[in-house]
Symmetry: C2
Subunit: 479 residues, 2 copies
Amino acid sequence: MAQQKKLVEAITSRDEDFAKWYTDIVKKAELIDYSGVKGCMVIRPYGYAIWENIQKDLDRRFKETGHENVYMPMFIPESLLQKEKDHVKGFAPEVAWVTQGGAEKLTERLCVRPTSEVLFCEHYAKIINSYRDLPKLYNQWCSVVRWEKTTRPFLRSSEFLWQEGHTMHETAEEAQEETMRMLHVYHDFYKETLAIPAVIGKKTDKEKFAGAEATYTIEPMMHNGVALQGGTSHYFGDGFARSFDITFTGRDNKLAYPHQTSWGVSTRLIGALIMVHSDDDGLVLPPKISPIQIAIIPIAMHKEGVLEKADSLYKRLKDEFRVKLDNSDQSPGWKFSQYEMKGVPVRIEIGPKDIENNQCVIVRRDTREKIVVSIDNLETAVRETLETMHNDMYNNALENLHEKTFVAKNHEEFLDIAQNKPGFIKAMWCGDSACEDKLKDETGGVKSRCIPFDEEHITDTCACCGKPAQHMVYWGKQY
Amino acid sequence: MAQQKKLVEAITSRDEDFAKWYTDIVKKAELIDYSGVKGCMVIRPYGYAIWENIQKDLDRRFKETGHENVYMPMFIPESLLQKEKDHVKGFAPEVAWVTQGGAEKLTERLCVRPTSEVLFCEHYAKIINSYRDLPKLYNQWCSVVRWEKTTRPFLRSSEFLWQEGHTMHETAEEAQEETMRMLHVYHDFYKETLAIPAVIGKKTDKEKFAGAEATYTIEPMMHNGVALQGGTSHYFGDGFARSFDITFTGRDNKLAYPHQTSWGVSTRLIGALIMVHSDDDGLVLPPKISPIQIAIIPIAMHKEGVLEKADSLYKRLKDEFRVKLDNSDQSPGWKFSQYEMKGVPVRIEIGPKDIENNQCVIVRRDTREKIVVSIDNLETAVRETLETMHNDMYNNALENLHEKTFVAKNHEEFLDIAQNKPGFIKAMWCGDSACEDKLKDETGGVKSRCIPFDEEHITDTCACCGKPAQHMVYWGKQY
C-alpha cells in the first residue's frame, strides 16, 4: 500500500489542512483548472461529467414535477434590475457591468445576470393574462456571475453554473406548496443521489434572499464541521408581480397579482460532494453520479487470456453501468491509485489466478473492502456493492452530521462550543436579528443556518439575550 | 379548412413576405420572445425543447467520436484575446466589454466570449506536455455574445447558444482528419435528424474564420433561395499553438507544436428548420427533433368511450414516442390549428365512428394526408408515417436546393441570375479575392459560399474576370 501511494503525487492530509486538502483534490482529481480571470474556473472533463450527471438527475425530477426549461438573456439593463428595490440592494454590489458593445459606448449599462428574477418577471408580464395561463413552471440551466472578493473552486466563484426555477401561481397557497415541493426535490436528490443528509428548514429574515418573503434551505454538514448552504427555495408572495405589473384576470373576472417562487442549486454541489465524502487518497464519489462507476483492471495483463476475460467482463457490465476497462501499459498499482484519486466507486481486479478460480475481486473505494465474487454472479454482486456503498456513504455522512451537532443551552455554552467544537449549534433564539449580529461578531462568523422544520424545545430563553425564545435555530460557520 | 384557419391568428403568407412570415412563426409557435436588451431573445419552452433535442442528438454523436465536454469561463481578458492577431482583428469590433466588477473599476477590460479559442489555448498550454497527452478532444455547450447591429431571432442575435469543439492533435494530418470528421458529423446530423440537405465544401480564404488555416462549411438552402452557413469546421494548423506557446515532447523526444481544430453549430439551426420546412400554417418540424411527435385529439369527446379510447392509444404510444393527448375543452378544429402551428408531425384523430370501426385517422403535418389505420396496427403505422415523413421532407428540401441552384458560365449570366433568380449560383472562379469583392458589390451581396468537395467543370475561365479558373464555387446571398 505504502508503495502504491508513492505512485501518484500525495495530497495534503484532510486532518492536517482541510483547505489545502480540498484544493489538492480539486486539482489532482482534474476537476478544475484556474483561469486568467480571478475567480473564474475551467471545469475540466471529469468535473464537468459529474455536473452532467447531476443535471440529468435533477432535470428529470424537475420535468416529472411539471417544469419546462427556457433560456433568458444573460444581460440585464440597469433600469430593469432596479425595479424591485430589495432585490437590487442585495445584488448591485456584486455584479459585473458591461459598458461597451463593439466600438460603441452603451447608453445604459447592462449587468451580467447574477440571478434572473427580473428577466423572468419582464417575460411573465407579457405572457400571463388569465388564470388559464397559470401556473407557469419554468426552469433555466445557465451560468451566472457574482463579483466575489474571496473565491474558492465550486464553493464561491465569480462565475458558476446553476439552475434557477421561477414559477408563477394563481394563489399564495399554490406558490407556497411549490416552494416546499422543490425544497423537498432537492432534499431527496441530496439523499438519493449524492448520499448527503441535510438539515432542512427556514432561513431567518436576516438570511433570506433579497426580495423574498421567505427562504427555505437545506444545509449539509461538511467533514470539518463547517456548514454549506446546499440549495434554497424562495417564496416571493406577489412582491415582484407588483413591481413588474404582472396581473391576470382571475376566475372571478377580477384582476389579480400572481404569486411567485424561485429555487436553485449550483456547481457548489460538487464542493459538497468533496467535503462530505472524500478522504486522504482523493475523491470518493457516490455511485449514482460518478462518471465512471466501475474500473476494470487486468492483473498480469500479458498472461494469456487475461485481457480477453477482462474484456468479457466489460461487455457484460457496460450496458447497465458506466464502466471503464483500463488496459493501458501502466502498472496495476498506478491504476489503483489513479482511480482512487478520481473516486471511482468500484474497481474490479481480474488476473490469471482469478480466472482459474472463475472469480474476480471487487474493491470498494470508500472502505477498501475486497470482495471475492464468482464471475457467474458478477452483475448482481456489482449492483449490490454499489447500493450498499451508497447507503454506507449516506449513513457515514449522517453520523458525521450528528457527531458535529452540539446543543447550547445558554450564551456561555454557545460561545464555548463556537470556540472549541466545529459544527452545528442547536440553540434557542428570541427572533431578534440583533442577537444574530451579536453572536456572529462574538464568534467570528457563526450565523443562523435555519429554523429547522423539526424544532426541538431546548430551553425557554434565547441563547444570546436571555429573553423568551421563539424558535430553535441551527447555527454554524459556513462556506 | 377555411373555417379552421380562422380559429388561430393567421400568419403572413410565405410567398408574400418571407421575412414577416418568419418572424410570425417564431412568435406564434411560441419559440421566442423579445427581451429588453436589443438582439437578445428569450427562448420559450417550445423553442428550448427543440434545442434540447438537437443537443441530445449532437452530444451523442460527439461522445461517440471520443469528445468530452468542459466548461470555460465566459470572460476573456483583453490581453488574452490579443494574443493571436488575426483572431482579435476578426472579433474585437463585435464584443461586449465588462469594465466594472461590483463597485470597482477593472484594471483590465474583460470581453464576454464571442468564441473560446483563446481560453482553450490558455488551458491547453498548461495540460499538454507530452504526445501522450494528445489528442485532446474537448467540446463546450454555452452561450456567446457578438454585438450585432441588425438582429433576427435565431439567425443573428447578440447572444446565442451553441457548441464549440476545440481539439489538439500530434500531427497536422490527424487535425485535418478531425476537421473533416466533425464536418461530416454535422452533415449527417442535418440529413438524418433535421431532414435538411446541404452543400458541403471549403470556404475561400476571404470567408474563412479569423485565425484559421482552412474553414469547411455546410450550406443548406432556404425556401426563398437565400443560403445559410449551417455549421463550420476549422483547421488551425499550429498558429494558435505558436502564439500561446503550447508545446509537447514528441515521440522523437523533441519539442513540437500541436495542431488544432475547432467546429461549431448554434441555435441558428432552429432558423434553418423554420426556413427550410415550414409553411403558411406554421412550423413543420422533422419528427426526430419535434418536442411533440404525435398529438392525439379526441373527436366528440363527451361521447361515451371516446376519452377512454384516446387514453388507451396514448398509453400504447407514450414509451416509444413523444406523444400528447389533448383532452382540453377547446374544439377539435382549434386543436388542429394549434398543433399545425407548432409543427407537430402527426396528429391522431379518434371519434365514435372510428371506434366503431376499430380505426383511427393519422394526419401528416407536411402533406395533410389523412391515413385511416386499424387500431391494431397503430404503432407500426405511426412509426412508418414518421419515417416516410422524414424522408419526404428531406427530398422536398433537396428538390428545393436543386431547383434553386443555377449555373453561370460567364459574367453576364452571373449578374442576370443574381438579379432574377434567388438561389445558389455555380460558377468558375480564378482564386482572386478581388473577384469576390467585385461580384459582391455588383450584386448587392452575393458572396462565395464554398468550393464544394464535388467540384464540376463548367468553363475554363473565371465568371468574373475571365482569367483561367481554379475552382468551381457555390455563390449566394446569405442570412
